[in-house]
Amino acid sequence: MFVLVVGAGRVGSSVATTALRAGHTVSVIDEDPLSHERLDVELGKGWEEAGGRFTIGTALEMDALVEAGIEQAQVFIASTNGDNTNLVVSQIAQRRFEVPRVIARVLDPRRAAWYREQGLQTICPTQIAIDQLERAALAESG
């Protein structure tokens, strides 16, 4: 599969690395060249050398998205550190470029839930933490 990851922080770079190791075509966009180094370190060798693609740019730059291969992407992951950026760019991927599978990381649980109802796949790390904490706390108190 062709996987496009926008935002290579801890989450994005980890998913990108795993996907590349699993033999997928992986393209990453990040505005910070430093995130390229993170990919190298996580992979244990040069990102491009291992077949990965990297484009410097911000999520809303059409040129960067096209250069990174959004028109060929089968999976689009929006994992920048901003909910608003992720929500906007993933809707662009969905509606304009018609990427078959679009996933957005959204920290705000309520908006993650609402956009999910609107047909956008959202992953909410905050909700996952809340669920796990509640489970752990209530299990302890028995």
Binding site: V88, I92, W114
Partner: protein, 228 residues
């Protein structure tokens, strides 16, 4: 338009002054500002008409009473924020009227894609003013009504234009276009079929989008770029 309830996201220069104007006209206004210091400054004047909070968060919008808002205006300095504020206002809270500010004109296409209209870009407005003052392309967009699929444009009739010297009835305009006014020597009038169009006249044409080039060909001739 009396007694609207307007929520304004962003208490920058635009938001603050807009709030001031609307309050003076007797409307009810709540401004939302996420920067604590800016909020405190604005609060000294607007008092309870400004609230502290991030307008992209649903609870902040709800606290401001978005369910009963007649109009939501998103004028923060961040285009993603403005887009999403208007999107939830329209689609989640079913607010009938929204207005979004576009800071970077390159983002205008994203607002259009997600159905956020009208989206107002200062750069665009100034560009239009410049073109209106200096109509070097021969054609000025005065009004676009994308929902209604109508535009009004202004053209200056050039010497070599096919229409120059012809009565209105003989000018071959495409279907979907109508000359609504002629401005000559500083005054405007509504033309009749017999009105002869002269070089130097400014004509206002209402048209379906996409007909600009055909119309430009009639009034400006081939030399013009034809784009406003």
């Amino acid at each position: 338009m009396a007694g609207l309830y307007v929520i304004i996201a962003g208490a920058g220069k635009v938001g603050w002054n807009l709030a001031r104007e609307l309050l003076e006209k007797g409307h009810e206004v709540t401004v939302l500002e996420q920067d604590r210091r800016r909020y405190l400054t604005v609060e000294q004047e607007l008092e309870h008409a400004v609230q502290y909070g991030d307008a992209t968060e649903l609870w902040v919008l709800e606290r401001a009473g978005i369910q009963r808002a007649d109009l939501v205006v998103a004028v923060t300095g961040d285009d993603e924020d403005n887009l999403l504020i208007c999107q939830v206002a329209k689609e989640k809270y079913l607010c009938e009227r929204i207005i979004a500010r576009v800071n970077n004109p390159r983002n205008l296409e994203h607002f259009k894609l997600l159905g956020i209209q009208p989206a107002v870009s200062a750069t665009d407005l100034i560009l239009r003013l410049i073109e209106h003052e200096v109509p070097r392309y021969g054609l000025v967009h005065l009004l676009d009504l994308p929902e209604e699929r109508l535009e009004i444009i202004e053209l200056v009739v050039s010497d070599e234009a096919p229409a120059a010297g012809s009565p209105i009835a003989e000018i071959s305009l495409p279907e979907g276009a109508l000359i609504i006014s002629v401005l000559r020597d500083g005054s405007g009038f509504v033309p009749t079929a017999d009105t002869v169009v002269e070089a130097g006249d400014e004509v206002l044409v209402v048209l379906d989008p996409g007909l600009e080039e055909d119309i430009t060909a009639q009034f400006v001739g081939d030399s013009a770029d034809g784009r406003g």
